[in-house]
Amino acid sequence: MIISWNWLKQYVSLDMPVEELTHRLMMAGFNHEGTSEVDGDLAIDLEITSNRPDCLSHLGIAREVGALYGRPVRTPEAKPPEGRTPVQSLVEVRIECPDLCFRYIARVIRGVRIGPSPAWLARRLRTLGLAPINNVVDASNYVLMECGQPLHTFDFAKIRGRSIVVRRPKSGETIEAINHLVYTLQPDMCLICDEERPVAIGGVMGGAETEISESTTDVLVEAAEFAPVSIRTTARALGLHSESSFRFERGVDPEGVDWASRRCCELILELAGGELAAGAVDVGRRPTARSAISLRFAQLPRILGIDVPPEKVREILLALGLRECGSEDGVPSAASGSKRRKSSSASKTAAGDADRIVLTPPSWRRDLEREIDLIEEVARIYGYDKIPEDVSVPMAPSARTKQERVVEKVRYVLAGCGLDEAMTFSVVEPEWSKAFLPWNSSEPLQTQTPLVRGANVLRQSLLPSLLSARRTNESVGNPQIELFEIARVFWPQPEQLPLEEQVLAITSGRSYLELKGILEALLETLKISEPLRAEPANCPQLADSASCRLYLGEQLWGFVGEISSALQQQMDLRHRCTAAEVRLNLLMEAAQLTPQYQPVAQYPAITRDVNLVVDEPVRWADVAATVWQSGGPWLELVQYRQTYRDPQRLGEGKKSLLMTLAFRCPDRTLTSPEADKLRDQIVAACEKQHGAKLRAG
């Protein structure tokens, strides 16, 4: 809202520097966006929060200045001289949709002379960034900016049937607005019509056919109150936002409608002459009386942490236009149940008890309804700077959750492994959402509006986003791209909010086994004792010969592998890479963040390298399991070394698994023959179970 300094001065005396005024206003809740000089005047740009539509006007800001500086506010009387003809004989008004239009006041001025506005008025409008149009239209805009009540002026001669009908549109009805665009109206919009056709989109914009022109002689002045929600949806649906719709959306002062109508007529008579018909056609509901609000003084320190003297409280609230009530009758007390001492003789004022003040808010403050609203008003004007910033707040214990600690460890291990943390959007393009779906094949959730262009699917995997980040890095020529992300994926559940799983995804230039090793290292760091099991990935997005799915115990933990060439092509990647995605939730449960001490062995271990020749289909994990089963209690370590293939030396369809075994006895040093014996025992078991042969050398 732009406020003209000269205009504001008309209602309240301003003798302070403008910087001081804007600072005071800022500290009272009106952010100062800037001040610029316009033709000898100052245009002060203030940000008005949505709860204060009453301040979308010069009078509104003048009232705030009056309260802040303790100065009277001069409101014009708005008493236009009336002619003899009763307005009822000229025009009839019907509201057919009282849910959309609460009230409609029409006045008629006949015999105006349309012409340019005088310099003072044109200058005022220009200061606010509005272009002057003609004396009648400018008068209505002036009053809008003066008191915040939008008005509309019609060329009365063009209103057919001499009546105004406020109704919903008929099917397919259109209107050409004063911006000369044609709008098709939708069922729940509020239309201002004459007997035949729409003449304005109520509260949003007037129609072109009935607008004031140079040939206009008779003017109908509309002042109305429309339903805020209806105006908001209409303005949005039509993409048509105006000074009027902005104010009606937030709500106008119901008691200011008639004042604005009179004030506008007064100005038109002054600027364009003519004669005002007597009275007004005033249709619709009348403003209802505001309920009184009781403010208990003790609530001020309870909420604000400071005492405000009762006299000060009263002074502030009265300055803001509230009126003190003589009694509390009919007031629903916010303090029901609290003690009330009836000692009115000791009370400082006649109004109510000494421990409270009961007030009625002014009609323009629809935001004041509750005790807490008054507490805020007192604090705002009294000044938040009076609240201390150094009270002692009681201490309280706080602990980091297991989840936080696990995620932090995971992050640090991954960074330690040379991976950079990425963050990507949770909502992706539909094609991406299908690119990698090993977890869940149910139809993904969608947003009504895309997050960014084309992205409207809640992701069920982080990998596509991460691979896209990889592509971004490839395209700028970054050589090493090692990325991980920890975020949630969204798995739909019938009749409920989606299941939000926290997952970890990695993309790397390393080999499949190196990436798998990082995941194994994570388990080691978190001291997870659940056995890790690998099975073929069976996932079309991963290369068969270099990927697996991982289980922790019986639960699917995740996937790791080289991406398939299909996925590489789909994600438009220049180079093959590896990727992994695992569920972090499983780690939260299984992690042991307080490991228990195990005594360190006193005697040396003795190692044996074993080279077992087996058939190709025999898997390492199965051999290792046999080794553990047959190795006895002293077997301490079974370490995989490598797989060796050589058809000439080993035979077709054979491979050799090289491993290192370590044996240790807790209470003495093992001898070499003992170790050999254990090794032989293991080899025999492997031979029996897997057909393995010990390979010499």
Binding site: M423, T447, N456, N473, E482, E500
Partner: protein, 342 residues
């Protein structure tokens, strides 16, 4: 030759041999010295061995012992000299010069996202102030995102254009129930915590929030918030100001003052904007206020019994100011040249 003379001869031999071996400047000189002292045919050691044989047999054991000792010493001195010269020769031959400034072999260390680092910093500070982390879903129902937060159905904040509602097919209760949406604020977590816990409540919530905004230098449709909530008996705005000041002093490492400017949020009243004065400048930090009585009632608390404060800060804005980042989109582009700066 007497025993005395033999032993003296032996010592002289040892000291001269050692000196010559040490002084040899290259392998040729060393070889010459070796022939002179240790030569198999006519080296001085050979001469001494002959002298040893001519000593009276009674002196021979003592002399022999010393002779072998000296021989070992001199031989190892020769070996040491040989190794020293061989090393030097090797270097000289390939014309290599050792360069101490060659960099070490560096392990690659990854980087945590700057947003994570800012979050960790704030979480740590709030943890010290006694606030524990609470969590809630990113996809919310309208009750937690709006209704319970004193945002009734007609409120403009619920406009479909200002929120990421999920498509109609994914409504709750079989497509007919209330809508779901990506949460527009972390305040939803306040409600979830208060619904399951009696006062006192002293939590922070951190996470992703979503609001339709066309991405530009300062806007992103997804960003992060941190939110603090303290509800108890006798919690006042002075407590709010004091906690925020402690947060500011920990965050900025120094003296900070707090300024409140009146503002408007549906879920707090009074509502304020928080400014922090750091080194003479006022910095906008976020929004705060006293929990609205309607919110307390919505979770079954009695606003006559308890009061509370809440505040919310935008993580991206703090992080950008902290590191001098001028484009919020960098956070989500994930160029490793950006990520590796932090």
């Amino acid at each position: 030759m007497t025993l005395q003379e033999f032993l003296a001869e032996l010592e002289l031999f040892a000291s001269e041999a050692n000196r010559c071996f040490q002084a040899a400047g290259d392998l040729t000189a060393l070889e010459a010295a070796r022939i002179e002292f240790l030569g198999a045919r006519s080296g001085r050691l050979k001469q001494l061995q002959k002298s040893l044989g001519q000593l009276p047999s009674v002196d021979r054991p003592q002399a022999g012992q010393r002779f072998h000792q000296v021989r070992r010493e001199v031989e190892s001195a020769f070996q040491a000299a040989q190794e020293r010269l061989a090393d030097r020769q090797k270097t000289v031959r390939s014309a290599e010069v050792f360069d101490p400034t060659i960099p070490g072999v560096r392990p690659v260390v990854g980087h945590l996202h700057p947003i994570t680092q800012t979050i960790d910093q704030l979480k740590e500070i709030m943890g010290r102030l006694g606030f524990s982390l609470a969590d809630g879903p990113e996809v919310e129902d309208e009750w937690h995102n709006f209704e319970a937060l004193n945002i009734p159905p007609d409120h403009p904040a619920r406009d479909p254009l200002d929120n990421f509602y999920l498509a109609a097919a994914s409504r709750l209760a079989g497509g007919a129930g209330p809508s779901m949406l990506l949460r527009s604020q972390t305040s939803t977590v306040q409600i979830r915590v208060m619904e399951r816990q009696k006062p006192p409540v002293r939590i922070i919530a951190v996470g992703r929030v979503y609001r339709p905004d066309t991405p530009d230098q300062t806007h992103s449709p997804m960003f992060h918030q941190i939110e603090g909530l303290l509800v108890d008996r006798r919690v006042t705005m002075a407590d709010l100001k004091s906690v925020l000041r402690m947060l500011g002093m920990s965050y900025f490492h120094g003296e900070v003052h707090i300024r409140f400017r009146p503002s408007f949020f549906p879920f707090t009243e009074p509502s304020v904007e928080i400014d922090m004065n750091w080194q003479g400048r006022w910095i906008e930090m976020g929004g705060a206020g006293m929990v609205d009585p309607n919110v307390l009632r919505a979770v079954g608390y009695d606003p006559e019994e308890v009061s509370g404060f809440a505040f919310g800060l935008g993580i991206e804005r703090l992080c950008m100011r902290q590191h001098g980042i001028d484009d919020i989109r960098e956070f989500y582009r994930n160029d490793v040249r950006f990520l590796r700066q932090f």
